[in-house]
Symmetry: C2
Subunit: 197 residues, 2 copies
DNA sequence: CTAAACTTACTGACGAGTAAGTAAGAAAAG
DNA sequence: CTTTTCTTACTTACTCGTCAGTAAGTTTAG
């Protein structure tokens, strides 16, 4: 791994943990073992570094999603959820970054990333339409379905500590929580069930 | 409305629009028509102002949710989604604030607010358990159900512009999107269907 | 009159970004 | 071949804008 990639990786961690505004390039630099100015050697500015983080992740995610090729719409939708969830498991920093982008309305998201998001939604929309055409799924707003999947997954990741806090306050929900990995198949089942005719 | 409440209201708008870090007290002060120091007269610091915004909203939301009293679990769950969504419609600034808190894992959320969140989840958990006991609903992780409802609703609100951008990129999803108000009953139906035995 | 509710004019910490420089290696010139 | 020049990949030591917070004072309301 070259230095530029090291910078991207460490920055990705900071953007994830503390968000864009609180992520400080001096901290990133120290952890990589370079000076802050070295980061400016490789990236025009802080935002360019953030873009580098975002774009590589969205590119990989879109590729993962567009590679879905299932025998039927139900299986395709299951794979959609599983592939999405699997990606979040594989890239631990991405959930929080994604969740913050959703929460902020993605107003500063580079166009290449919104393009990838469009491709991702296109895939989901195609699955839903095929399901509808085959009489397997009811017609449904793909944006709402997308958010039921995506925001649930990413926020499930980001709210881990919050859930523990909430559980401490309540007796009724003890030992009910699970990790992200465990809810992926569950969520897939629920989304499919919600959509089935 | 007294000055303190005006400050809370305007601050709520800024916290919603640009997030905590980017919300600048000088801007809040100008819009209220006071000096920044006057804000410090009423609130200890910026975070205390944020807490005031958060706590009043969560208190009202928890009250709204805990007042749900339906004849059966299915109706109760429907009301849960409708009341939650209705609250977000009534308090336009709250969705983005809530979404950012979820995305950040609510690590700085005051205890009184996490307490209210616990009460809200307690209500949902009770509805789900009653539904399970009556053989109406399958057993399900209440955190996941909560996020399917809450994160979908709040992020539906925050991603309005993003959805327009995404729609511009795609031909297949034209004229499919809807406002938050329109998806509330739809989401309720889908959640209920997903959970029904 | 007093206390509450403000004001102006700051201070100082923080962090993004930069100017000027250096070291090492590669390429070009003689 | 050796020396000069150029390039890449950094470095230190800043600058400067921003904004949270504050001191000292003034104004307003009761």
């Amino acid at each position: 791994m070259n230095k530029k990639e090291q910078i991207i990786k460490v920055a990705s961690k900071y953007f994830s943990e503390v968000g864009y505004d609180k992520a400080v390039l001096e901290d990133v630099a120290k952890e990589v073992g370079v000076s802050k100015a070295a980061i400016y050697y490789h990236f025009k500015d802080k935002f360019a570094l953030y873009e580098a983080v975002l774009c590589s992740r969205f590119k990989d995610l879109a590729q993962t999603i567009c590679d879905i090729d299932a025998a039927n719409p139900e299986q395709a939708l299951r794979e959609y959820v599983e592939k999405f969830g699997g990606f979040l498991l594989e890239k631990p920093c991405f959930s929080a970054i994604f969740a913050r982008e959703l929460a902020d309305g993605a107003i500063n998201m580079p166009q290449s990333c919104t393009k990838q998001m469009s491709q991702i939604l296109k895939k989901l929309s195609a699955i839903l339409q095929e399901g509808e055409a085959q009489g397997v799924f009811e017609k449904e707003n793909p944006f709402m379905v997308q958010l039921m999947i995506v925001s649930t997954l990413v926020n499930y990741r980001t709210t881990r500590k919050l859930r523990i806090t909430v559980m401490k306050n309540l007796k009724e929900v003890k030992n009910i929580d699970a990790g992200l990995k465990d809810i992926i198949p569950n969520l897939a089942n629920k989304i499919i069930k919600a959509l089935k005719c």
